[in-house]
Symmetry: C2
Subunit: 504 residues, 2 copies
């Protein structure tokens, strides 16, 4: 069958693209974990070259023709191969919009910008990194210009991360979300400073050990993964057999290590759960930023910040940290669910988190549409924090410099996924709960395989085979909708059984 | 000037080759340090692709023509550019001998073989890795066949590592060396088991800290490097700004950490000392295996195992390891210079070390010439250890499985460099001593910049600009010769002031 030969040719070619991208992933992992500072400039060059070569390979005219031929006869292909051709056709269409040299320029700029941001954040010096951000905005606008059909310059960037979404669909969703969250936050949030959820004296190694045990108990496979410490935690895939997480430590609060680990382990469970048969093809990864984030949030919040979970987790914490001997699960639960009007997105609780995201999303829309200049960004940031959260950053490090995203590539397309992920996390969790009536008992008992197995079967294994919104509808029985999410938040924070509004 | 444009073209092209190779170096570093076991198969693929792409780029016909045109007008080029063209012409000539697919096959096989060796060594199971070694021998013979002009199948592999050397030049050198060493070892070596030179109870972190201090005191720049722990220590260059070392720890003997670090720091000082202007060209590395090893050995042995050095080093060791409070420099010096008939190359002293190397060199000649089968290797190994060193391995882990070299690529070309390096280390050190009359006082005082600066200026900065034997002759005033080396050994171990023959 001619399709077989051509599919084999295509896969052989895609394997090379994947080899280059996987190598780039390791270089990026190392850049954030172990690279000496002097390695930065060369690392930028190496990443740029790998990115450019991967891109050149994807847009080769013979590959395009091969994909087109296969797309025309996709009825003849088996299920996986037909999905592969659909996804590759989309990837190739997107990649052919811009020249390889453009993406190499972006990658090299991203490395320089990242280095400048690292230094600038330490000093709280926005001015030092502003020229890099101006260049980033300019490159992002140039990227958007390669997609002249887009209604908004952010649309191509959103579509790259969350297929099928646009400013036109995200903005009303966020407006609805904000309208519901602001009164909810007002009625629940404390304006006192957050207390450490699990206050400790510094003890790095034990922090990591406990956090890693929680992650492996969920099902994170260390034969195919590892944990390291970084300032900004992340999960990254090099291969089906190599999916790594990093953890952020707070010397005064064990909760930081635990929840950053649960979050990244959620991402890693997704990547480790992609079917092995998809390895080395573009299908072998999470399907979208929003669905990916739904899994990190599901494990971090729906599981990790639930009361049943703390019946399981607290004894483990107590074994390595005897200072929590007198703590009980209910108080631990309240401690890890404090609601505060705070400055830092990654430390935000479930209720306020999306407000941080929506501020960033709207600011990046304004930057890319030219309605806001980079120099005006700190002021606009402060104004939005004041109006939406009632707090003002003391310096840029707690303000506009806190997140890496605008300083490591393009502006736009990154933040909407966080809020979409929060919304979807509840949709997926509700579907899992419907299928697993004993779920709370499993969590209490530290038995995670039923939930993990259900998610692996229904979400993880498919990789990118289904478009994200098709996956959502198929698994949860309805399209993306914020109602279950709001119901979850209201139940948890305002419901009859809620103990969270009371000071812990 | 047309030469300028063409040189710029060539450098742009070579930069891409260097980007791919540098990325591959990081993947190899990670494979030995932090990669989870499940990452092995994909890592083999990724390395194979990077190696193949680098090779394809080097042998592109337009690059060959560019190099040929530049070579014809090399008189017009400035010094560095002329050297670059000479070296690239040599690299291209070697690389065009075999197809890219061959080297990808070798790289992928190397990764599989390395994994099998890691497991087999733990179990002492030679049979488990023998099929991989047979394939390695076969690939090495195929490699040799691409160089039909070679007098011996090992010659192309030797020339790849040590330009200008062949079996015809190495064999007589090694015969002479062996003839001198055997009686020397007989008159000095103890057959009692080696005692730990610096006996300790396990204390990993302090071991690493002290070892790293010794390395940075030599001049190893941590802003452009880092130290990690591996079973088999190595140094590796990703860039001028990123040259890493790894250290092997022995829980019972601090000397293992210290000397493996001094050795790898010697390699790293060389790579960090290559002139920055050569960055991202093929000139930016040490010039040959032998000259590279001369620098690791110079710092490890000529400096690190000297009596003056221990006047500086002992107080540093004592600060972190109070158990050595009663030790004095003379006894420390004797402890780190014990001469033993032993089984393990990397633990061997200066006197017996080359005998280990010569055994391996002769066995690999026999393997590649077809005079010895892989299945017969353990027996031949045992026979040579019995006859040359008077010791018999108890198992394969202490025998034929002890070194990675035959299990991580091609057989041949790796071992001669160790013995050549030992010989050259004394030639270079004598030249430095002649230029630095206060050298012993510097070492006693822990002042290493004069020696480091001299070596950087005369050896390191040049990278691959001069052929290795030209460099040797220019720097030391004469060709490679074993006489200074033997004089050093005789003076140290038999001389009037020698205290080393007496039991410590």
């Amino acid at each position: 069958m001619p399709g077989d030969v051509e599919i084999a040719q295509l896969k052989e070619h895609l394997r090379e693209v994947d080899d280059l991208r996987s190598a780039a992933s390791l270089l990026a992992w190392d850049q954030s974990t172990y690279m000496p500072s002097g390695g930065g400039p060369a690392r930028g060059r190496h990443l740029a070259t790998l990115g450019r070569l991967a891109h050149e390979r994807l847009v080769q005219p013979d590959v395009q023709r091969l994909v087109e031929r296969l797309a025309r006869r996709s009825d003849e292909l088996d299920g996986v191969d037909a999905d592969l051709v659909r996804v590759v056709a989309r990837d190739v269409d997107r990649a052919t919009r811009y020249p390889s040299s453009f993406m190499a320029m972006v990658t090299e700029h991203a490395a320089a910008s990242y280095g400048a941001w690292t230094r600038a954040r330490q000093l709280g010096d926005f001015g030092a990194v502003a020229p890099y951000l101006e260049r980033t905005v300019e490159l992002s606008q140039r990227y958007a210009a390669y997609f002249p059909e887009a209604a908004h310059p952010v649309d191509p960037l959103i579509d790259a991360a969350d297929e099928g979404m646009t400013v036109a669909t995200v903005e009303p969703l966020f407006a609805e979300l904000r309208a519901a969250l602001v009164p909810l936050v007002e009625s629940v949030a404390d304006s006192a400073p957050r207390r450490p959820a699990l206050p400790i004296a510094r003890n790095d190694e034990a922090q990591l050990r406990v956090a890693l045990q929680l992650a492996t108990d969920l099902g994170y496979d260390l034969a195919r993964g590892r944990q390291d410490v970084t300032a900004h935690p992340f999960a990254i895939r090099m291969a089906h057999g190599d999916v790594r997480i990093t953890t952020r430590l707070d010397p005064g609060d064990l909760a930081e290590a635990l929840f950053s680990t649960l979050h990244e382990a959620g991402h890693a469970l997704y990547e480790q759960g992609v079917a092995r048969e998809l390895e080395a093809t573009p299908l072998a990864s999470g399907v979208s930023a929003g669905v990916h984030e739904s899994q990190s949030r599901l494990w971090e919040n729906l599981v990790g910040r639930s009361l049943p979970y703390w019946h399981y987790a607290l004894p483990i914490v107590q074994r390595s940290f005897p200072e929590f001997k007198a703590l009980d699960p209910e108080r631990a639960y309240r401690g890890v669910n404090q609601v505060r009007r705070s400055l830092i997105r990654t430390e935000a609780d479930e209720l306020t988190y999306n407000l941080h995201v929506i501020i960033r999303f709207e600011l990046e829309l304004a930057l890319l549409a030219g309605r806001l200049q980079v120099a005006e960004l700190p002021e606009a940031w402060a104004a939005r924090y004041q109006s939406d959260l009632g707090v003002l950053p003391e310096g840029h490090a707690d303000g506009v410099l806190q997140d890496v995203h605008w300083f490591a590539g393009l502006v736009g397309g990154a933040f909407q996924g966080y809020a979409i992920g929060n919304v979807l996390s509840v949709q997926f969790f509700d579907a899992a709960r419907a299928a697993l009536p004993d779920l709370d008992a499993h969590l209490t008992g530290g038995t995670f395989e039923p939930l993990h197995g259900w998610l692996r079967e229904h979400v993880y294994a498919h990789g990118r085979r289904l478009p994200p919104m098709t996956l959502v509808e198929r698994v949860t029985g309805r399209p993306l909708t914020i109602e279950p999410y709001l119901a979850y938040l209201r139940g948890k924070y305002l419901g009859a059984a809620a103990t969270l509004a009371a000071p812990a």
